[in-house]
């Protein structure tokens, strides 16, 4: 702890007596509760206070479709806010085990200070099923600050935009749309700041009833805020990206924002590259490349050794073998599963990139790799 007798560089004054008193009180409090820290004690009483590790409390769970629900969450006082289109990582205890997942925020900043995510229960989705069907108001969950680059450019909101979304890919987009055109009891507002926008939304879903935010999109369409092109697989057949030119005749004049499964995004990327049109994408699940042969993965601290194939993330293979692993979003964005690769090669399943650690040549502490998106590419050892 540093001495309090420093001067504030900007004003040249001594820090206020109340400030230094606070520091002294904290010092005494730390000494009084060791080996805990003061936060551990305060957490017992007020887990959402400013300065606490960021948490949130579920305020309401509202069903959207049979297998999707919106969770309204009151974030802790340290929540720094977000921009529509961003996502938040949440940590939630399911069957006693902490899991982390990332979900798009489905509202812009709200007057009541709540944030919301909309979750679709995916088959075998342990966490999504819990959030949709079992999460109860009052539950405390863990949060990280909002993150993500899939946002509308600041000043350039005016203009012609195209959103291409599929399935739960609508979630970051609905956050943007709600922010642009707030929905009220009297209908959809069209505030001046959004007046110059011309938005087309091409939304793809397996069927109409399973399409989350269908009613919201239709309301926006009816109000003339957007032009909705809904494509349901069971009615219209699976969307062929080449049809976009017909569905959106002025496609070339629009900036395209797309969010959905890897197949759709890959097709869009190819299509737009050929046409020479800009594309911003947000991807929720990693596209898995054909990886080479797997190999033996050794965990140096725990002593476990396992065989992993070239297509299975090391995280999954290790957990399958009973190794307790740090983990996070499981899609390569949160760095919650990073571990040092001491020796050998792993392949990044997202892009096929091979990372190799050679003792004596590379960092002696190892190369940090994300185990959730890395597979063994030959024998390797991991410091864990």
């Amino acid at each position: 702890m540093t001495s309090v007798a420093f001067r504030d560089a900007s004003t040249g004054t001594r820090p206020s007596w109340s400030h230094s008193l606070r520091r002294q009180v904290r010092r005494v409090a730390e000494a009084a509760v060791t080996p805990l820290d003061v936060d551990d004690v305060l957490d017992v009483f007020h887990p959402l206070r400013r300065g606490a590790p960021l948490r949130g409390r579920i305020v309401a769970v509202r069903p959207e479709t049979a297998d999707a629900a919106t969770l309204e969450i009151k974030p802790g006082a340290s929540w720094a806010g977000h921009v529509p289109g961003q996502y938040v990582r949440i940590g939630i205890d399911v069957d006693g085990v902490r899991h982390w997942r990332a979900y798009s925020l489905t509202h812009g900043p709200r007057a009541d200070g709540l944030i919301s995510i909309t979750v679709k229960a995916v088959p075998d989705g342990h966490v999504s099923d819990y959030l949709v069907h079992h999460a109860a108001p009052g539950t405390t969950l863990h949060l990280e600050q909002a993150a993500g680059e899939f946002v509308l450019p600041d000043a350039g909101t005016a203009g012609k935009l195209l959103f291409v979304t599929a399935g739960s890919g609508i979630t970051p987009v609905i956050g943007m749309l709600r922010n642009l055109y707030p929905s009220t009891d009297t209908g959809v507002l069209r505030p001046a700041r959004s007046a110059d926008l011309d938005i087309v939304v091409v939304h793809v879903a397996p069927s109409e009833p399973s399409s989350i935010f269908r009613a919201d999109l239709q309301a926006l369409d009816t109000a003339g805020a957007i032009r909705l092109v809904a494509r349901y697989d069971d009615q219209h057949g699976v969307l062929d990206v080449a049809d976009l030119d017909t569905l959106v005749p002025d496609l070339a004049e629009r900036r395209t924002f797309a969010c959905g499964p890897a197949g759709l995004l890959d097709a869009l990327e190819a299509h737009h590259a050929e046409a020479g049109i800009d594309l911003f994408v947000e991807q929720f699940r990693t596209a898995r490349v054909e990886a080479g042969a797997g190999g033996t993965v050794a965990f140096t601290q725990g002593g476990t050794t396992l065989e992993a194939d070239g297509a299975t993330p090391i995280l999954d293979a290790a957990e399958e073998a009973g190794v307790l692993m740090p983990s996070g979003c499981r899609m390569g964005i949160c760095m919650g599963c990073v571990l040092p690769l001491k020796e050998g090669s792993v392949r990044d399943l997202r892009n096929g990139q091979v990372t190799t650690a050679v003792p004596g040549e590379t960092d002696p502490r190892g190369i940090l790799i994300q185990t959730c998106v890395s597979a063994a590419a030959g024998a390797c050892s991991i410091d864990h």
């Binding site: 509760v33 060791t34 080996p35 004690v41 017992v44 006693g96 085990v97």
Partner: protein, 411 residues
């Protein structure tokens, strides 16, 4: 007690190799059932215990601010003692065993937990989790038995200094947390090494331990007493904290003595343990080397479920709240293979352990051969054994042994 392989009748002689492996298979199945069913209610349990412990400690310390008033002193001291016991036993010991790592809560994890005890968690995890739990009750390898400072086995040669071991054991019990800290540092062994030759690891560990002791002592003997000055309760708070620490130390010492010390718990010779012990053989050694305390739910909680020492030694990483549930299955397994499931009440186990400490403080067979009638002559023998040379000692010991043999044949 003597090492199992030197006993006239080995209690495992009736087991075949196949039996021992089958015991391993059956115990693995019990373990897997619990692993598969760990869930939200277990997580809620440990969170609840932590929550109660923290509130109890805070509440007790708040009450002690006014400890100049006797009722406040009593209430606060009792509360603080219980809080410290919960912190060390059901919470700290078990979290540091990794029993709750599966929750993936970084706050309740073996890698991050620190407890209200003189010994830092890292040092303790090494000596306890690694050394003691791997080499349980192997004479000369498992120092938890107290070989460093006490005579705990007939096979250890008797020496007059052991006469003081009941007193020494009591002093150790009062200062138990510091005894453990010294033990975790392997202080005895390291102090014998010349100062400039001591390893870096030892110096680092010593620094860590002293730092921890300083912080804990500052909390209990400076900060809280000073905070009580406004009510004139400096000294009462100081006394209350010291009392709570001694109570906690006496309690944990008793519980730990009950786990491996009572008469009838087996010890093992180093050379009798196979180079590569099988899972079944390891399980068997844990089964015979531990003893349980019977009692109420509150007793189990306050002992950190080390009242289920047998279950704990078989499955040190299973959540403590589940030991009671598997105890009947484990007990049935002991019965099936005709093994002694060593279980008794707390007073019986504490008496048994102390009885052994006293018995072994005296030469072998001394207690068995002493009656009220022959007491004067026995004391004379003891005096001679304590004051004269090894030759006299050996001769007197031989006489005692002979006497004991005669007594057993007569009976």
């Amino acid at each position: 007690m003597t090492a199992i392989t030197r006993k006239p009748e080995n209690p495992t002689a009736h087991l075949t190799e196949a039996d021992i492996e089958q015991i391993g298979v059956e115990l693995d199945a019990i373990r897997q059932d619990i692993v598969d069913s760990r869930g939200a209610s277990d997580a809620a349990y440990i969170r609840k215990v932590i929550d109660v412990q923290r509130k109890l400690e805070l509440g007790s310390r708040a009450v002690l601010v006014a400890s100049i008033f006797p009722p406040a002193w009593v209430l606060g001291t009792v509360g603080l003692s219980v809080a410290k016991i919960l912190d060390n036993m059901e919470i700290g010991h078990n979290i540091m065993h990794g029993q709750w790592d599966w929750m993936r809560d970084p706050k309740i994890h073996s890698s991050t937990w620190e407890w209200d005890n003189a010994t830092p968690s890292d040092a303790w995890k090494h000596s306890h989790n690694e050394v003691h739990h791997t080499y349980t009750n192997i004479v000369g390898k498992d120092n938890d038995l107290g070989y460093g400072i006490m005579r705990v086995d007939e096979d250890q040669r008797w020496h007059p200094m052991y006469l003081a071991q009941p007193l020494w054991n009591f002093v150790n019990a009062c200062l138990f947390e510091y005894g453990i800290a010294a033990y975790d540092l392997e202080l005895g062994r390291n102090l014998r090494v010349p100062k400039d030759k001591r390893s870096e690891t030892f110096k680092r560990n010593l620094k860590g331990t002293l730092g921890k002791i300083r912080k804990q002592a500052t909390k209990d003997y400076v900060v809280h007493p000073v905070l009580s000055i406004p009510t004139g309760s400096f000294l009462p708070t100081l006394a209350a904290n010291a009392t709570a620490n001694v109570v906690r130390n006496l309690w944990t010492h008793s519980v730990i003595m009950c786990g491996h010390f009572p008469e009838g718990v087996e010890t093992f010779e180093k050379k009798a343990i196979p180079e590569k012990e099988t899972r079944g053989e390891w399980y068997l050694r844990q089964m015979l080397g531990s003893a349980n305390i019977s009692g109420s739910k509150a007793m189990h909680l306050m002992t950190g479920n080390l009242s289920h020492q047998i279950e704990h030694h078989l499955f040190p990483d299973l959540p403590s709240n589940r030991y009671a549930e598997i105890a009947p299955q484990v007990k049935a397994l002991f019965a099936k293979y005709d093994l002694n499931y060593h279980e008794a009440s707390l007073p019986a186990q504490v008496y048994s352990a102390w009885h052994k400490v006293v018995r072994l403080s005296l030469p072998n067979d001394f207690m068995a051969t002493t009656t009220v009638k022959n007491l004067p002559s026995q004391l004379k023998t003891l005096y001679a054994m304590s004051t004269k040379g090894p030759k006299v000692r050996r001769a007197a010991q031989a006489r005692l042994q002979q006497q004991a043999r005669r007594l057993t044949t007569a009976a």
